[in-house]
Symmetry: C2
Subunit: 326 residues, 2 copies
């Protein structure tokens, strides 16, 4: 697949994305005190806005209602922001989008309650406009997301994690919100038609996104990913490249690397050896192939629709997600 | 007002409350792994079930739909449980309902994500049944609750907290969910009629509840409240008795106690003196009078309806809330 920039993908919905950024800014400015302070910190800090982008592109492929599409895109970005606030607290992360995380800039308590505030703001905005079908999609999605994160905690340091368990976990943790964004786009732009196709597009995109993300943690350029490689493993996350490499290793080797994966603190200076082992046992190529296959599935789905600026951008998004600078 | 037991209040809806307990148990038993483990810990641990009780009594005063009322009562208890999980983490509490808190028995990360899981379960259950008006009420309520908690954090250690700020904060933090429970009861049992009356009943009840709770922290029997008195102040919470006592003190005394309230760690052995000062300056009686006034308002509202077993229980609930062992 060709290398695509995020700007190319977002080109057809640039005005709408700017409106989303404006709406997010207005939300924090309408508050006072600590809420406003934290709100400005998390809502005006940038980010790639991938979920709003997909929602807006899907809606634009049909005949979008611009006001509703912008509102819905704002709402999915709020839900995503809320999960980031809680996730960063769970992981003890210090940086997010180049800024200190809420738990770092404020504290854990502020993170917990502000996450709840942002989540519930998303639902309150939809309830205010009585957008019940959107509430239904997002209520289901946020529940699946928290389930995925509980499963992720359950799987931590579990060397025997299967590919199936991994896929089920990232499906909830990541893919479900992309799926919901595209489903909402279909609802708003296509009058509810083609919901299933766009749901599958979003889910496939999300799975490709997460597998690519997990791969980047292993082999990415540290200057680009902005953190040490191997961070996931240090946090106990046994991702697809490791699962595949373990599966392909002879028993003795499997035992040795299982031990290291279960006790990542003992890897210490041996990180290059770990990466080379994953490569040698086909873990990197397997994960890349899986990500590409999901991205290809997403592209196929879009190819079933009449070509337009937006449909081309959605196909580009699928290429971008598996081959991005970050 | 006469002294009332919780059992008396709950008598008319005892079968429904048992069904709620059963439904909560079924929810955790339908899960696996860590979710089930934490779910059983938080959902089968008892609690007074005050919010379900009010919802069920209000619904029963009209002609309730028993299945829907039980579902809605289960949902408000889920929302309440989610807030407890997050609050205990924020406050670093160690015990809840006589059991270790989730943050103690598991850890902070599990608390954060499990709180999100329980919150979103509540909305997912309503969305499944397409109970949109209930979703609307609860989306608004949960948003107001997180707003109240953000304000509470903002007011921590702020000696100049006014009564108005305090009331606004407990309105969001506590009263809103009682209000929502009663509004839902009215919707289910009275076909949407008398919504405003029951909302005001719930709000008045909730304000009385929180003021009584805050008073108990100051003057309650430690054996009964199950924790050290003065806990709120140690956590930086400047509640109504202190606000009133400060307002009634001459300047020099106000300065002295302001200093202690702002730096509660310096109170040390001087707790009895603090309690005596609050009493002498009328802080205790003022807070008690305010709680009683809100409880009386709640009773007045119920008195406007035809008398029944359930209406008597609601009036009893208002008496109970300001004069309870806990």
């Amino acid at each position: 697949m060709k290398t695509i920039s995020l700007a190319t993908v977002q080109e057809p919905v640039q005005p709408e994305l700017q409106a989303v950024t404006r709406r997010l800014g207005d939300l924090s400015r309408s508050e006072t005190g600590l809420i406003r302070q934290v709100g400005e910190h998390v809502l005006t800090g940038g980010g790639k806005r991938l979920r709003p982008t997909l929602l807006l592109l899907v809606a634009k492929m049909g005949g979008q209602n611009q006001d509703l599409a912008e509102l819905a895109a704002t709402v999915v970005e709020l839900v995503h922001t809320a999960t980031l606030i809680h996730d960063d607290t769970v992981d003890g992360s210090q940086l997010r989008r180049g800024r200190p995380t809420v738990n770092r800039a404020f504290n854990h308590s502020v993170s917990i309650i502000m996450g709840d505030f942002v989540y519930s703001k998303a639902f309150a905005l939809l309830a205010e406009r009585q957008l019940y079908p959107l509430i239904e999609v997002l209520a289901h999605a946020t529940h699946q997301m928290s389930r995925g994160e509980m499963i992720e905690m359950d799987l931590k340091h579990k060397v025997e994690t299967t590919e199936e368990e991994y896929l089920d976990m990232i499906d909830g943790k990541t893919a479900v919100l992309f799926q919901a964004s595209c489903e909402i786009g279909a609802y708003l732009g296509h009058g509810g038609q083609h919901r299933d196709e766009f749901k599958e597009f979003g889910r496939s995109f999300g799975l490709a996104f997460q597998i690519a993300d997990d791969l980047m943690d292993l082999t990415g350029d540290e200057a680009v990913i902005g953190k040490d490689r191997g961070n996931d493993l240090q946090e106990g996350k046994v991702t697809l490249p490791y699962i595949a490499a373990l599966r392909n290793s002879p028993p003795e080797e499997r035992d040795r690397y299982s031990e290291l994966i279960a006790h990542p603190e003992s890897i210490n200076g041996g990180w290059d050896d770990m990466v080379q082992w994953v490569r040698r046992r086909g873990g990197e190529s397997y994960a890349r192939d899986r990500a590409l296959a999901f991205a290809r599935r997403a592209t196929e789905i879009v190819a079933g629709f009449p070509e337009s600026e937006s449909s081309r951008a959605l196909a580009d998004a699928a290429a971008y997600v598996v081959d991005r600078p970050l």
